[in-house]
Symmetry: C2
Amino acid sequence: MADIQRLLSDRAGKLRKSEIRELLKVTQDPEIISFAGGLPNPRSFPIDDIDGIIDDVLREKGKDALQYGTTQGVPELREQIADRANKDGITHINAEHITITSGSQQGLDTIGKLFLNPGDVALVGLPSYLGGINAFRSYESNLTGIPLDKDGMRIDILEETIKEHLKENITPKFVYVVPTFQNPAGVIMPESRRKELIDLANNYDLVIVEDDPYGKLSYDVSHIKPIKAYDDEDRVVYMSTFSKILSPGFRLAWMIASPELTRKIILCKQALDLCTNTFTQYIAAEFMRRGSLDLHIMRICEMYKPKRDLMMKAMKEYFPKNHLCYKPLGGMFAWVTLPEGIDTEIMFLDAIKEKVAYVHGKAFHVDGGGERSMRLNFSYPTNEQIEEGMHRLGKVIHNKLDAIPAV
Amino acid sequence: MADIQRLLSDRAGKLRKSEIRELLKVTQDPEIISFAGGLPNPRSFPIDDIDGIIDDVLREKGKDALQYGTTQGVPELREQIADRANKDGITHINAEHITITSGSQQGLDTIGKLFLNPGDVALVGLPSYLGGINAFRSYESNLTGIPLDKDGMRIDILEETIKEHLKENITPKFVYVVPTFQNPAGVIMPESRRKELIDLANNYDLVIVEDDPYGKLSYDVSHIKPIKAYDDEDRVVYMSTFSKILSPGFRLAWMIASPELTRKIILCKQALDLCTNTFTQYIAAEFMRRGSLDLHIMRICEMYKPKRDLMMKAMKEYFPKNHLCYKPLGGMFAWVTLPEGIDTEIMFLDAIKEKVAYVHGKAFHVDGGGERSMRLNFSYPTNEQIEEGMHRLGKVIHNKLDAIPAV
């Protein structure tokens, strides 16, 4: 048989399994109540609206919608997105600054491909989104973690870390942040800190990759401007997606970048997949043109907010008193840190026995930390599952704590 | 302003513009008759069938079809593809050997990511598909060209080249072939040579990447088994796509590989885009389940064959006698080699002035050759455009030849 191993690239040898994906497999058991995934609730999908739109798209634009499209993306869609970005505070950009990607994951991969040589350093949150970690690591980079607090990434530690790297002649290639309803930590970076981050980036000539999949899923706070809104020096690459506000199956996301970088992004994407699914791009553009998106986002928030509340209430009731969890003001996740002595990776086996699942904190930590933390998703499960699942999980945690020998 | 240039990866600096994409921009002028593109004819898109299928998919499977899917691809679709592959002679494979990719371009990118370190050598045809060249070059590889004749890649020269490389301690990572209705050369590799290629691969422990987008678009010859059909040692990665037989806008293609390599492909794809568009996967699966695909392929062939004939007839009529073109027995392209003294890249400017376009041969040659050749697409233009465009192109060529000083 062929000996393929010897022919593989260095990076292929270093590819790691995505922990989330492996976990999701375990949780396919229908008896398990899973807080592990990161899925939108399928009840939120606007199936009827989509069906109606498709009839029109096929009738009026079928020959374009089923054909290859330009690498940068369908112009109608980019124009709609540019309009929204302008309203959200990212002014002075237009459709030419936008590239449609096949999910945000492709945006993250593109960032890796464009910036990272093997051994290069990028800075990410502690904790940070797994998909970002995965994409950047696939280019054999070294990821340095910057701790978060309740207001997101710690700018003081970020600056210290940059200084240390520069002292060793290492230029961090970019800072990767999810400033609004961070995955997994659920926290939001306030305006003052966003401005501090931009000042820092300007001082040290840094690139910031701002990933914003959850910004519109806001339950208690009014809109806060993206970091990109404060970017006078074209150093922020902003990314967002339709996965959480329309349909993940459509695989549609977008990047906003400087004209110079957008040219590079397009060249890169030509080699990646020529163009993103044209058909779903036309559907999304028409969904926006009809003004359905804002209404739909409102509906999603009305569905997720009570789930968030239910999870927080159940956590109070069933979890040990000395856990830590900042109430997530938006997004899809609660991030819990448990008392000393617990390792959530080990505890996962107990949880599965009790038919409840989560993602353990280490998966989100590039420094091996996070052993007392876990991420809980509240968007996907039903209300009954949240109540029952949190009950089960509370039991698992209490049992684990009871088993820790007193010192 | 940000100085992003200094932060880019080595590979980002080497990204080249896709010649085809740039050419397509020039040919947007509606007065130009373009033989340059590689687009299916939009009149072939089964819009009504798709519309009906979507109603059912949304009603019956909407919650899955709009959700994230597994990285490997929707099981129903992979099963349908496995069935067809078995019928086509690729026996002993099942749905587990198949990965759905976001267009074949993503398959090519994945091959590059899995096999190519910077400086690595891969072997490709002279000429060869541009998208493959682009993808492999994006990993900073060195591509060595193997000449084609009327039966496809020359196996004797391939063996010689491999020997030469091995003598210099260079292991070519894979051989990239498009054996059936090659893009751009239009030729088909006969069964005997396919077996020779497999024997060679077995002898030298090579990996073969078999790209087969056009195999079903056959106008004069009965089905010929893919190289993968003769692969007893799991060393052929087979790729095909829905772009030419259903819709390119759906961005759906597939790879068939050994279980070992499939695991790597899936890990790689997790970092690339998590999963391919779920919605269009369900549509394609249902299109196949209903038995519509074979019927539809028949219709496409009935549309393209007369176009091919028309182009060959016009070529005979309008081109100089001493051009060379093997009649393409399938696919979407005719490949023409013109008499000595012509450079098709230079002649392109004359052609544009006469409002007709093609892709010059150099674009498909990794060795800088092909200056007398051009690729002509016959699937996209109307019959009238083929007649008129070939007339114009013939005039351009004759003028060019007349201007060459006699020696």
